[in-house]
Symmetry: C2
Subunit: 196 residues, 2 copies
Amino acid sequence: MAGSGALETLVEALRRLPGVGQKSAQRMAYHLLQHDRLGAGVLAQALERAVASVQHCQRCHTFSEAPVCPVCRDTGRDRRQLCVVESPADQAALERTGSYHGYYYVLMGRISPIDGQGPEQLRADGLLARALDGEVEEVILATSFTAEGEATSHVLGESLRARGLKVTRLARGVPAGSELEYVDLSTIAHALVDRR
Amino acid sequence: MAGSGALETLVEALRRLPGVGQKSAQRMAYHLLQHDRLGAGVLAQALERAVASVQHCQRCHTFSEAPVCPVCRDTGRDRRQLCVVESPADQAALERTGSYHGYYYVLMGRISPIDGQGPEQLRADGLLARALDGEVEEVILATSFTAEGEATSHVLGESLRARGLKVTRLARGVPAGSELEYVDLSTIAHALVDRR
Ligand SMILES: [Zn+2]
Ligand SMILES: [Zn+2]
């Protein structure tokens, strides 16, 4: 391995991925170079394409290649409801229930003091602007039922209520301590109906 | 997430990495796009550079950017000894002991019927050619002390002995069932002295 600058650089770059330490990065680099050079090229191109083309939807802030994402462009949805989720994966879980027909706002995060994410990092401004478009009547807070998700929900709920919006929270049918994206669909559907 | 082709393509590409499933790939993609776009670019470039420039050393078969790697180019080593290892990481572990001063042959794998790696995939031909250069007197088999590493060692040992070479194996001081790269250095150094 000595002197192989390109290999060492690759291992270092792979370590930037979340959850990947030195040993995993080395294993990944060996695997790609030994067994999947095509895959390495595919991954390089996918990374460059994503960085170049994936931005945030101007309305809901989720990842989108268009200025406004397909969900926000869908005119057949109920403009009176806005559902706040932490991530695109959580939004996808709600969509799969088939029980929600309003629009979304995707926080792309949550309050997490450990990760240096305070309320100010939450883009609450973007959410408030979106929720105060004059058509939204109800904001449904669908952040995770973890300590961080609850704190996020609490902070956002205060701001939204202070501006006269009706704010609801998914019913506590969602098992406490769980991440929304891992919850089975019928539980999410129930929690949606029983929102308070 | 709907319609975000570049994002989905990135998640798919990340899944090609060993040990990365759908959820991890999604988390990696979100992380890069949300928090480390610079890192995504760095990784893309590192992948492309590695694929373009990292080849195999013509003498020892390890990864190398030059036709012959720095270790094989080092004329100060003992030409009478050739140590056979499974991977560059294993070679690095042996180098760190400071107890070995010969050359290496890096198999870049081992016999592993589960992964479809039979003896014929082992590049035993390359090893035989290297070992029969007229200068090598002893081949030290330093494959892992796992079932697969032992099988690899057995098969290679037979071939090498049949051609009149002296073949030794790292002493069983290395704890059985362990991968060489995770073993502490003094154990490896001992096993090297006690090779049989
Ligand atoms: Zn949108
Ligand atoms: Zn070499």
